[in-house]
């Protein structure tokens, strides 16, 4: 974890606190299903800045062993209420997040914010319905998720199994964000910044003004190879603009729960540029999609996890976009 300013809980302290909480809230992941969990007594979420907690999801595909816990999820505690940023990839993961919140505070959960439409970031929403929060997202998120919902459910239910998937359903946004807006958690301002098409066509950046923490969702990948479901040209532009905007720390959608900014952007920005440059060269020579998938970006292979699962698809998507330049 980098970019820490010394206010993070001492690890032993964190373990003791969360151990106590877990006895009450059943916070810990136990049993064989959690075999990939790094340490059996690690807290679900780490306090990366005062009142800001982030959970690191597994860098993995949906599988029965991780129950859909494959993306980062966070929450911010204000004087009067709590905001959740992304909810994990199943109702069960959402419930773990809910318990983690309740181990820290009993304040009402007023806002559940989704950084974009992907199932690993929104499927935990169901675990928060009883709190009756506003479900907040980019104004184009509902359309994107709606069109894909049926397939997201079918594919991911099959990947993690009926039991782990139980209770998971689509919970669409109730508060669409058209332009920059602010939420107040009580003496704590949360700023929401909808972006132009980049990772998807509905990326939303969330900032905690008090600590200068930016939650970038999948605009920032670390460890996990980026996945392109929007515009590669748009993504480069958004990252360039963002890199010029200071932040005390950022939370990526996948990777460590807290990273230093703008250094964290360098590997993904490089990946995007390599793909863009190499595809443009092929297009100039009238080469085909098949050619591109075979050769583009292979130099990045060892820099990322899950490369073989997503890279070729990224090249395919980028090619289909760039051929219209």
């Amino acid at each position: 974890m980098s970019g820490n300013d010394g206010r993070m809980l001492d690890r032993r302290m964190a373990i003791r606190l969360s151990a106590a909480a877990a006895l009450v809230a059943g916070l810990f992941r136990t049993g064989t299903a959690w075999s990939e969990t790094p340490a059996p007594d690690a807290p679900f979420a780490t306090e990366i800045a005062p009142g800001v907690y982030a959970h690191k999801g597994h860098v993995a595909l949906y599988n029965p062993g991780n129950e859909g816990d494959i993306s980062n999820a966070s929450f911010v505690v204000g004087r009067d209420s709590v905001a959740v940023i992304d909810t994990g990839g199943s109702a069960r993961v959402g419930a773990h997040l809910h318990q983690a919140i309740r181990s820290v505070t009993q304040l009402p959960i007023r806002y559940v914010i989704n950084t974009h439409m992907h199932p690993d970031h929104v499927f935990g929403n169901a675990a928060f319905e009883a709190d009756q929060p506003a479900f907040v997202a980019h104004h184009k998120m509902a359309r994107g998720l709606s069109a894909r919902a049926e397939r997201y459910i079918a594919v991911n239910k099959e990947a993690i199994g009926e039991e782990a998937f139980a209770g998971t359903k689509i919970v669409l946004p109730t508060l669409p964000v058209q332009e920059t807006m602010k939420l107040d958690l009580g003496d704590r301002e949360i700023v929401l910044e909808p972006q132009k098409t980049a990772h998807t066509d509905n990326d939303l950046i969330v900032r905690d003004s008090r600590t200068g923490t930016a939650f970038l969702g999948d605009l920032l990948f670390s460890e996990h190879v980026p996945t392109l479901d929007g515009s590669i040209v748009g993504w480069a532009a958004v990252l360039d603009t963002l890199s010029a905007t200071p932040a005390q720390r950022v939370v990526p959608g996948h990777g460590p729960p807290s990273m230093a900014w703008p250094d964290a952007a360098k590997p993904i920005r490089h990946y995007i540029q390599i793909l863009t440059d190499e595809i443009r060269v092929l297009l100039k020579d009238d080469r085909t999609l098949t050619d591109a998938v075979a050769v583009v970006g292979r130099s990045e292979k060892d820099a990322w996890q899950l490369f073989d699962d997503y890279h070729a698809r990224n090249v395919s998507a980028a090619f289909a976009e760039l051929e219209w330049e």
């Binding site: 069109a147 919902a149 594919v155 066509d201 395919s316 219209w324």
Partner: protein, 273 residues
Amino acid sequence: MIHVERRSVKVVAALAMAFAVAAGGWISANAADADEDIWPALQKDLFGDRAVVEDPAAVVLEAPYRAEDAALVPLVVRIPAAVASSVKKLSLVIDKNPAPLVADFTFGPAAGKGERTLETRVRVDMYSNVRAIVETEDGTLHMATKFVKAAGGCSAPALKDTDAALADAGKMQIKLLADGGGQREAQLKIRHPQYSGLQLNQATGYYIPAKFLRVIDVQRGGDRVFRMEGGISLSENPNIRFTYAGGSDETLKVVAEDTDGRTFTGTAAPKGS
């Protein structure tokens, strides 16, 4: 839901069935019968009692075994010169797709007599055999088959940016690629969202209506290269590379029509002509 294949009651029934399955849980319902060989029934629907014979001397199909993006699976069809001049029609079929007939390409005189290639991108909805079937002038049917592993190409929207896709619909680019003495080669790209009609809008509970290119007609100097009649299995922003014969008038003209009855046209001529 638009039925692309209207000649057959059975195919229409299969489509209706697929539609019903889509409403109830598309992937899992179909995965159950993934091993079932539906080709004999499909063959009967598409070609009646006529024999369809695997014939590598007449047609070769290239397809990736594992499709990286189910919504964008590249296919290449090659018809050797010895056969090309007698080929009337090419049909692309994906057995397990909700509308198995991707498209019929009916060739005209400007398709030429040399080796004929046609390359495009399709949606593959699940693990499926993909077939290229050519009909020669004597009425015989020759087939090449490839198995492709993919999932969800039809029900998953490929659209990365919905607004951009709709705003640019109909924009066309025609590029002349090669004229190395023999067959010419060109690439046709048309912006179109190619809505499959299989995507459920969760908010409204209705399926997003199908909207796709029904016809693409390509002529060189007033002679037909091919006329494509197609459906929802052709990928978003259709992209077709094809060979054709040169002539006194080298102008390529393309007319496309979508299911809303909108017509799009484009032309291209070699530089300096």
